[in-house]
């Protein structure tokens, strides 16, 4: 178990949906319901499910953006909300790439200004620009792009920038929430190939969230299928794809084949 990076134990997060302003009645929606899983170094996990199945909530909990109601997230065996000064270490090692590249880059900052704070924080003030250039090169972008603003880029380029920003901390895990769903099909494959290359060359572990089984099966070693907050099926990619146990998974596989 030395290589275990993240472990989730019985994670639950509920939201309360109010019906009407004055009625006061509410229904509880279980966005994440009793999910347990383990992420080991080098084995990327795909989380699949339709809209509203709790994938994004799960991603936000394990990046520490929101707090779960019950259960725990362990980073190298320790609860992420009780890490003390090692919290920064967890912060650095678990990074995130967002769905919509038009919302995930600050429109008022150049690429360099967006990136440099994190680089300075974790690698010191020396050669900041040089380092940023290297990260851009890793995602296949020209170093001149550092001084441009986000509105000058296409969707695919923006998503590359988002990945470069996540890479700039040299993380162990990158949580990618629907990283290609808002891109053109041709650009999707470029981004997926880039992620696969980074995974192999930099021993990165991805947690890839998608509604598309084809995308997940391309990149991931394990697959978790979610429906209404619950884990429907969890196993290696091969098991889940070739021998699905649940009706829901079979429907997803059928849908991804366009049947």
């Amino acid at each position: 178990m030395d290589n275990e990076l993240l472990k989730l134990n019985n994670l639950t997060k509920q939201y309360r949906a109010f019906e009407g302003i004055f009625k006061g009645s509410s229904t509880i929606i279980k966005a994440v319901d009793n999910i347990s899983l383990s992420i080991t170094k080098g084995r990327s996990l795909g989380i699949v499910g339709e809209s509203g199945s709790g994938k994004t909530t799960l991603a936000k909990i394990l990046t520490g953006i929101i707090m779960q109601d019950s259960g725990e997230v362990l980073y190298k065996g320790r609860d992420i909300h009780a890490l003390g000064k090692d919290y920064q270490e967890y912060r650095r090692n678990v990074q995130m790439v967002f769905q919509d590249p038009y919302l995930s880059l600050n429109p008022k900052l150049t690429v360099f200004s967006s990136m440099k704070d994190a680089v300075i924080k974790y690698s010191g003030k020396k050669n900041v620009r040089q380092e940023c250039e290297n990260y851009l090169a890793m995602v296949g972008l020209d170093k001149e792009y550092l001084d441009r603003y986000p509105h000058e880029f296409s969707g695919g380029q923006r998503q590359r920038l988002s990945i470069a920003r996540a890479l700039s901390l040299n993380p162990e895990i990158i949580v990618a929430d629907e990283p290609v769903s808002s891109l053109d099909v041709s650009v999707q494959s470029q981004i997926l190939n880039l992620m696969k290359k980074l995974k192999l060359e930099n021993s990165l572990t991805f947690i890839l969230i998608s509604h598309d089984l084809a995308v997940v099966s391309f990149l991931c070693d394990d697959i978790l299928v979610m429906n209404r907050g619950e884990a429907v099926e969890y196993g290696t990619a091969q098991e889940v794809l070739e021998n699905p146990q649940q009706e829901y998974t079979k429907r997803l596989i059928a849908a991804s084949k366009g049947e």
Binding site: G64, Q95, M96, F98, N106, A118
Partner: protein
């Protein structure tokens, strides 16, 4: 792309242009007052009191024979100075508190916003009058007091904007990277909430100029012999029956300047409103 659309809107906005023209006109007058002025604004000429407007004295002279045209020119310096500095003070306080309240939320937010509510309960002008009555009336005190009583609107505006910006993915990304709250607030959020602040600031300058004039009119603002639009009016009110120019010209200067800033503010609002 976005910038071109903005430029297109600027071209079509007569509000913005007329406001800008008036504002620039008065700024130039204020800056070049010593060059343009025909007389020393404080030079007394007792042989020539209450002279009607003429080629020698464009706007006539006052009860001490001072040239009203020159006094209004120098008065515009005071008005603009007070306007800009007072709004600057309220912007600094308002933006700072608004950022903190909006970003941290929770108790910080509740406490700051209740202070705002309390400040808004006071009738601002009487609060200013009371404070100035305790302190000595001077340009500095007038600026400080107007600034210190005018930040609440800015705080509310900035807080609301920050609350909407902070949920965007690029802010979440910065938080996930472990960047400190201070840097996120001032570097990542602040530039994204500046646009509505410009509009409020422009309209605020108009308000500050009016308040300064009112205070000086009541004798609690800029003290004679330093000329200010408000205290020229005070002299005018006593002699309005036969020396109309003493009230007319400073009144007109205040009216046109305030109108100019309001037009500029409204124009800016139209241009920056994404719904147009």
């Amino acid at each position: 792309m976005a910038k071109n659309r903005l430029l297109g809107k600027v071209k079509g906005s007569y509000l913005f242009y007329s406001g800008l023209a008036v504002v620039l006109f008065f700024i130039i007058l204020a800056v070049f007052a010593p060059v343009i002025a025909t007389h020393d604004p404080t030079a007394i000429d007792l042989n020539n009191i209450f002279a009607a407007p003429s080629a020698e004295h464009f706007f006539g002279t006052d009860e001490l024979g001072r040239d009203v045209f020159s006094r209004i020119l120098y008065g515009s310096r005071i008005s603009l100075f007070v306007g800009f500095v007072a709004v600057g003070i309220s912007l600094i306080i308002g933006v700072f508190l608004g950022l903190i309240a909006g970003y941290f939320g929770g108790w910080t937010d509740i406490i700051i916003m209740r202070i705002v509510d309390i400040m808004l309960c006071f009738p601002a002008f009487f609060l200013i009058l009371a404070v100035i009555a305790f302190l000595n009336p001077s340009v500095f005190n007038v600026m400080a007091v107007i600034g210190l009583t005018g930040w609440m609107g800015v705080t509310r505006l900035v807080r609301a904007e920050v609350m909407s910006v902070k949920t965007r993915d690029y802010i979440t990304a910065a938080q996930v990277q472990g960047i400190s709250g201070r840097i996120i607030m001032f570097k990542h959020i602040l530039p994204n909430v500046m646009t509505p602040i410009f509009v409020t600031a422009t309209l605020g300058i108009a308000g500050a100029i009016l308040t300064e004039s009112s205070l000086s009119f009541l004798g609690l603002g800029v003290q004679p012999p330093t000329p200010s639009w408000g205290n020229i009016l005070t002299a005018g009110k006593d002699n309005i029956m036969f020396a109309w120019w003493l009230s007319m010209f400073p009144g007109l200067a205040i009216f046109v300047t305030v109108l100019g800033y309001n037009l500029l503010g409204e124009g800016l609002r139209d241009i920056l409103d994404p719904k147009n």
